[in-house]
Symmetry: C2
Subunit: 134 residues, 2 copies
DNA sequence: TTTTTACATGCAATAATTAGCATATATTAA
DNA sequence: TTAATATATGCTAATTATTGCATGTAAAAA
């Protein structure tokens, strides 16, 4: 029961719900800097939220050099049911805006890997504009 | 989104989960004194937990004289999905024990109404023994 | 009209959570 | 080695949640 309580607690926070939403809707792994740009919150806030979600066993992660890719932990039936529930009921405007920003950010991946890192928002906007031109 | 967060927060507490479990498993309305005996916790603790669950719109209630009967709020699709999820994953020993005590307590209902109220546990045990003899 | 009974709530102490900043770690690049 | 970069974490103050007790409320019974 403790683990289930921990999962509910992990989900009872706006930032953490927004993060889970991005994993559910994008259906792929994401790194910390991509989440920063999609959510527009500081790096430490993303990191802390991810740690709580990981401790609740809702996420797993893989390191790749200095990058860390997180993803939904679907190895547990309980989680799969939870994610299905969430997919149906996370439809707030905030979530849709996050998804839009994430999709833009993902355009910058190369070979399906994040290559951008943490950069000022103005630089990010430029990069994305250039990318869309091509 | 705020309401969903409030629901997750309401569910991230052992007492409140145990209460929700009893409503899900028993499939009926229950009054405060019945929950006290099933959970073996003080009246004020049951009342406070119920208030939080009601504010999160997970429960509704009806007054009947001085008795108050609470029940699952199934008027929202979101809740129905949540309850279905919970039904599948609330199977801890604690929950089963609560269910057993509740079933005993419910034997004392008359015309499907609670008639016992708040009494010392020893008196409750006696009443239940007598009831089972009949 | 007083008492009893079922339930709710206000308050105070304590514990847990959050938010922001600075800094630490670990890997890669120079 | 040193510097740079992606990510994690320690610390603090502020806020929020929990617990237990005492008391309040409202309906029914006496």
């Amino acid at each position: 029961m403790d683990k289930l309580i921990e999962k509910f607690k992990a989900l009872s926070d706006e930032t953490r719900l927004r993060i889970i939403n991005l994993f559910i809707k994008s259906g792929q792994n994401l790194c910390v800097c991509e989440l920063m740009d999609a959510l527009r919150i500081p790096q430490y806030a993303v990191s802390k939220a991810l740690t709580i979600l990981k401790n609740a066993e809702l996420l797993t992660y893989e390191k790749e050099g200095t990058w860390v890719y997180y993803q939904l932990n679907k190895s547990v039936q309980e989680n799969k049911s939870l994610f299905t529930f969430l997919r149906n009921f996370l439809n707030d405007k905030t979530f849709l805006e996050d998804e839009d920003r994430l999709n833009q950010r993902l355009l910058l991946r190369e070979d399906n890997r994040c290559v951008v890192g943490i950069i000022p928002e103005e630089d990010l906007v430029k990069l994305i504009k250039e990318r869309i031109k091509k």
